[in-house]
């Protein structure tokens, strides 16, 4: 996993609410056996029509909007626990998702895959959408260390993140790296455990 420290990027707006994991990556792509390549099928059925033709009106197909930040409506990532949703976002190039609410499992999956989910208030979310609307090239700044999302010089949002997951993102560690470092403790637990 690449460390995530500061992000300076424009953002892609997706104001729909309740975007579920089936929309992020449809079930028919779950038969894959690797994590790579999901980016091309991210929001597949919104990006392409039945004949596999590009839907010009979808935001990801509009060259004005690009960047490492996805801004989405409330309750992003609800539905199944498929981690493929996080892989698809990462593979496409997103490192940050901003929304006013994240489904629990998606949030965990995102953090486990190097994506920072930032929860903001409903008002702040609108502010961000408006900002992108007036200037699609506007760059936002994210400083993970200090947990600050800067909309501009004046408007800064302090966001929360689990202390442990923050460390992991900053260092590019994942849970396995950390757990592997606990080898001795795990061994002594195993030695003392009685199971039937």
């Amino acid at each position: 996993m690449e460390p995530l420290i500061n992000i300076h990027s424009s953002a892609v707006p997706l104001p729909a609410e309740d975007i579920d994991t089936d929309q992020i990556i449809p079930a028919r792509f779950l038969k894959a056996i690797t994590k790579e390549g999901f980016g091309k099928n991210l929001f597949r059925d919104w990006r392409y029509d039945k004949n596999n033709d590009i839907k010009g009106d979808f935001v990801l197909n509009n060259p004005i909007y690009k960047g490492q930040i996805l801004v989405a409506g409330k309750n992003f990532g609800c539905g199944s626990s498929r981690e493929h949703a996080a892989w698809a976002l990462y593979d496409y190039g997103f490192r940050v998702v901003i929304s006013s609410y994240f489904a629990d499992i998606f949030k965990g999956n995102a953090l486990n895959n190097g994506i920072l989910p930032i929860t903001v208030s409903e008002e702040e979310l609108h502010l961000i959408f408006r900002r992108i609307e007036t200037d699609p090239a506007h760059h936002f700044d994210i400083d993970l260390k200090n947990q600050i999302l800067s909309i501009d010089e004046k408007t800064k949002i302090l966001f929360t993140i689990d202390a442990f997951k923050k460390e992991c993102l900053l260092k590019g560690y994942d849970d396995i790296d950390f757990l592997l470092s606990l080898d001795k403790k795990i061994t002594s637990f195993e030695e003392s455990q009685i199971i039937y």
């Binding site: 089936d22 079930a27 779950l30 038969k31 894959a32 056996i33 690797t34 994590k35 539905g79 199944s80 626990s81 498929r82 981690e83 892989w87 629990d104 499992i105 965990g108 999956n109 486990n112 895959n113 689990d162 202390a163 442990f164 460390e167 994942d174 849970d175 396995i176 950390f178 757990l179 592997l180 606990l182 080898d183 403790k185 795990i186 637990f189 195993e190 455990q193 009685i194 199971i195 039937y196």
Partner: protein, 456 residues
């Protein structure tokens, strides 16, 4: 202060606590299948590390497999590739794997208990949300994502926040024809599909104690459909009797010791729960769902309530205020990790014996495991099903999620004993009505939804 059953098991598995309060929890048993494991095995290969405990992981093929002609190569190329990848990975890493045709193969949540691997007091995980099923044995069992599958493979541990604790108590005697599937659908209809969010649920009360292990598994299986992390039930004599003599049960020498330990696994009288609910068994009736999440359920004798979710009703082709009694249906699916055990098949067989399915109905019975299939044949249930016009298939997840060929055509109604009625779950446009095996069997015979309380 006393401890809950959940606390007792959780606390006994803490390896250490990390910054910010998360805990490193040791996992006693890991089940894997073809869909959520390949990327985890790849992760191990990339990191160049081995499995920490090969003795604590078991693999099976279930989600993607055909339920016909399992002795032949799988014809769908992507499914075949996924199944072959699992076999290859298990071979490479030295994991016990029950592939197609093996006598222990089946849906992961059916074979674990059947083989006596699932036992009280354990922590159990699998890359599948319905891992909650195993909680029926008094253990902490829950579904995980693929990164976590890799974590458990590599370290046998997970880094977790301790969930909140809920207790749901059900007392009283169930009306005739009402089963554990109806209990759990009733609870979800009351609590909604998100009523259990952030919690682990203990099911208790005298109604639960009278239930068989199969019936308890059905309830814990669907605990996650109310948004909970999992469900569990304190072990008792029924639990011990079920485990005794199974392949992975404690041997003669340690049996007494095991029982002594298992008997300590209950919630203390003064234990504290974050949330509590209680229900009366007498109020429960045969349940059916009318919408597109498992919380949208009613007793068959009730009418569809007015609901904000008109999109769901539109998808289902139903209206507010409508009764589902007499509703014509086209498909019946008896199977899935919720209701595909031998007890379910026996109940269906007993009902359909000497009867025949309605002409326009397609009725599929998919056993949860090879062992269930064999047992059904041994008892002659296959002949009863055949005579009644039901098709008995080979084990797998099948139409529960429609990853294989077993799909319900768009617009058609399927009375299903599975656990999810999401849009498109059983096939694009398929309309799923969740119900008990008895209600499903009766619907197949009558060709429409009926109230089974008057029929048994």
């Amino acid at each position: 202060m006393g401890k809950t059953l959940f606390d007792k098991i959780w606390d006994a598995h803490i390896v250490t606590t990390v910054e910010g309060g998360k805990q490193v929890v040791y996992i006693d048993q890991h089940y894997i299948h073809e869909v959520t494991s390949p990327q985890a095995f790849n992760g191990l290969k990339t990191r160049n590390i081995d499995l920490r405990r090969k003795d604590k992981i078991i693999a099976t093929t279930d989600h993607n497999v055909p339920t016909k002609d399992q002795h032949l190569p799988i014809s769908e190329p992507l499914s075949r590739k996924q199944v072959e990848t699992l076999l290859y990975n298990c071979e490479t890493f030295g994991v016990t794997c029950y592939g197609l045709g093996h006598k222990n193969q089946g849906i992961v949540h059916v074979i674990g208990p059947e083989l006596g691997i699932t036992k009280p007091g354990m922590t159990i995980v699998c890359g599948d949300s319905h891992t909650s099923t195993h909680g029926a044995f008094g253990c902490i069992a829950f579904g995980i994502g693929t990164s976590q599958v890799e974590q458990v493979m590599a370290t046998q541990c997970l880094i977790l926040n301790k969930p909140k604790k809920m207790r749901i108590t059900i007392n009283g005697i169930l009306p005739k024809g009402v089963s554990s599937k109806d209990i759990v659908l009733y609870i979800i209809s009351k609590l909604t599909a998100s009523g259990g969010t952030e919690h682990f649920i203990e099911f208790a009360g005298d109604t639960i104690s009278t239930l068989s292990m199969e019936a308890r598994m059905t309830i814990c299986n669907m605990s996650i459909e109310m948004g909970a992390r999992g469900g569990l039930i304190a072990p008792d004599q029924k639990t011990f009797d079920y485990i005794k003599g199974r392949k992975h049960a404690p041997d003669e020498e340690t049996w007494e010791e095991a029982i002594q330990f298992w008997e300590t696994l209950y919630s203390d009288d003064d234990a504290d729960f974050d949330t509590e609910y209680s229900f009366n068994a007498e109020d429960i009736g045969p349940m059916v769902t009318y919408g597109t999440n498992p919380g949208m359920g009613i007793r068959i004798m009730d009418k569809i309530p007015s609901d904000k979710n008109s999109k769901a009703l539109e998808y289902m082709g139903l209206r507010t205020g409508e009764s589902l009694l007499g509703k014509e249906i086209q498909y019946v699916f008896i199977g899935s990790c919720t209701n595909s055990r031998i007890e379910d098949l026996r109940q269906v067989a007993q009902f359909v014996k000497g009867k025949h399915k309605a002409k326009h109905i397609t009725a599929l019975i998919v056993p949860g495991s090879k062992a269930v299939e064999e047992q059904a044949k041994k008892e002659g249930l296959d002949k009863i099903f055949a005579a009644a016009g039901f098709e008995l298939r080979e084990p797998g997840c099948s139409a529960c999620l429609g990853m294989n060929e077993d799909k319900v055509p768009a617009g058609q109604y399927c009375v299903s004993t599975s656990n999810r009625n999401f849009e498109g779950r059983q096939g694009p446009g398929a309309r799923t009505i969740l119900a008990s095996p008895l209600t499903a069997a009766a619907a197949a015979v009558e060709g429409k939804l009926v109230d089974v309380t008057n029929m048994v």
